[in-house]
Symmetry: C2
Subunit: 360 residues, 2 copies
Amino acid sequence: MPWELTEDDLAPIATGEAVLGTGGGGNPYLGLLRARQLAAQGARFLVIDPDELDADALVCSAGGMGAPVVSYEKLPQGEEEVEAVRALERHLGRRFDAIAPMEMGGSNSMVALVAGALLGIPVLDGDGMGRAFPELQMITYLIAGGAPWPAAIADEKGCRLVIDQVPDAHALERIARAATVELGGHVGLAMCVMDGAHARSTCVPRTLSLAKRIGEAVAGARARLDDPVEAVVTETGGRRLFSGKIVDVLRRTDGGFVRGTAVLESLAPERPGRLEVEFQNENLIARLEGETIAVVPDLITLVDAQTGDPITTELLRYGLRAEVIVMPPASQLTTPQALAVVGPRAFGYDLDYRPAIVES
Amino acid sequence: MPWELTEDDLAPIATGEAVLGTGGGGNPYLGLLRARQLAAQGARFLVIDPDELDADALVCSAGGMGAPVVSYEKLPQGEEEVEAVRALERHLGRRFDAIAPMEMGGSNSMVALVAGALLGIPVLDGDGMGRAFPELQMITYLIAGGAPWPAAIADEKGCRLVIDQVPDAHALERIARAATVELGGHVGLAMCVMDGAHARSTCVPRTLSLAKRIGEAVAGARARLDDPVEAVVTETGGRRLFSGKIVDVLRRTDGGFVRGTAVLESLAPERPGRLEVEFQNENLIARLEGETIAVVPDLITLVDAQTGDPITTELLRYGLRAEVIVMPPASQLTTPQALAVVGPRAFGYDLDYRPAIVES
């Protein structure tokens, strides 16, 4: 049976998603506002556990696509994703039974919840990345052999595209990205048409629940005047990488992505040092004094040192006091097959993946 | 009843189409080769007169989209257009009864014939421009109120896109162009889903027959050692604008278009002068010593001074001896409604349209 989120669940989920989102997936506050607005109008947010998803259910993944910074002006409404899902339904001549989130990210799984509420169908407690990634082929539903087509894109101006066939997931990414840029840099996307059995066996399970626990732990620590960063680390099995002040941000919006580098300097005289974090929508690599200390698919997230609030890549700015934390990726992301798609080399780094957190 | 083209009809049609194509629509020789290859394999090229098209027939327009120069490396096979038409058929759940050519142009109406032959359906003796234009909204089927969606794009690598909804024809152009560029710069396109009554009343009628007559007149003049340029002028109701040598070509492939300028200098000492022709895939404006003497939608075509063979914009090169001729546009292109879409201002020229040929 699907369970229902309460309005009080929304804020912690938004925080937890942004922690897992490694800097990407958009601004958690914007997604939260939209969800709260719908809740106030009586919308119901139904969530279904992967184990309870019917093997024959028709499922698709839905979320926003584009450079997160664009969504500050072009506020995602959730209707774009609904239009994209409806376009796929018309194309297939069938209705979907559930939405599987694409990724955990600032606003992107909140968007999936909004789309599910608007469509009146449950949203899977799980996602296709267990974090956020910038490109479409980097999704477990496809890495595990799902069909990269059909997919659909919709914007807020009445444009709808169905990507009817592509030779592979990279072609899907290229074509959808070109369309996204042409449509203003941010669109709703529906993809990964699959049955419940495929969604169940390939998703990163229960990440919505995990996001909720993370957000609640941060809020709890804050209320108790405890260290909220420690709460994040404990809840995610992560560890602190670095603490310091952001002293430089290089950032450009390019080809539908936000790319750049954030530079942090330690404020502790006894432990001086300089950390660089490079990102493409999401944080990809952290280098301490030039030495790589964490790399994708490890989850690298900056959080506000005082509040524990995650700092998404478009919010990076000079002067912020941040803690950089690293968290272990979902096991689905570290198979050789997955690392070929989401490992350091897939992002142009001449490095093998070495986990920053090794279980003892 | 549809009539059938013979193999001997193909070469004159290719020549005539390129004359009407005003420099655009691709290389006539490449389209001809493909049509001949199919003819040798027993394909039948059926043509239907607009008056004989059933009012209830389901018709769409099909052709190539992209920078013509790309088609030199990425040879259009006709299969791309067939795939695009098939994608529209699946999307609509209906089969098309006839193909209406998008434009007359170097290879583009030959491509329509090829697609019709491969699909086993007749091709309309008429087209949507009576010439070639670079952008999708510049087609009579849409100018006269046809729906700009759905449309479909296909490439030779197994990519297929259905543009399911757009707010207007300009959005169709933008989205399809972005997809075309991403897919390598040249694709097959199917658009303008309409009934036979709309195709009949909005097409520029019998341009395939006109192309055939032009091509036959050129070939005849050449065989008789007559002036083939005069044959073109006579057959089209056009006139000679300028005769000279191409002394400069500025050309760039940009955003899926070929844009640039050709400069010709007179070789006649008694009539010195310099003519500039600017183009965006197609020739748009001719200026003699800086003064505009012909402008879109007038048909401006360069032909080889010796052979009468049309010179498409990607074939322009230093040293060619060319005659520049101007021909009157179809009456559908000179209404106020049409001039807003295909007149000089639609191409960024601060000019009103003044016909270069005024009937006496």
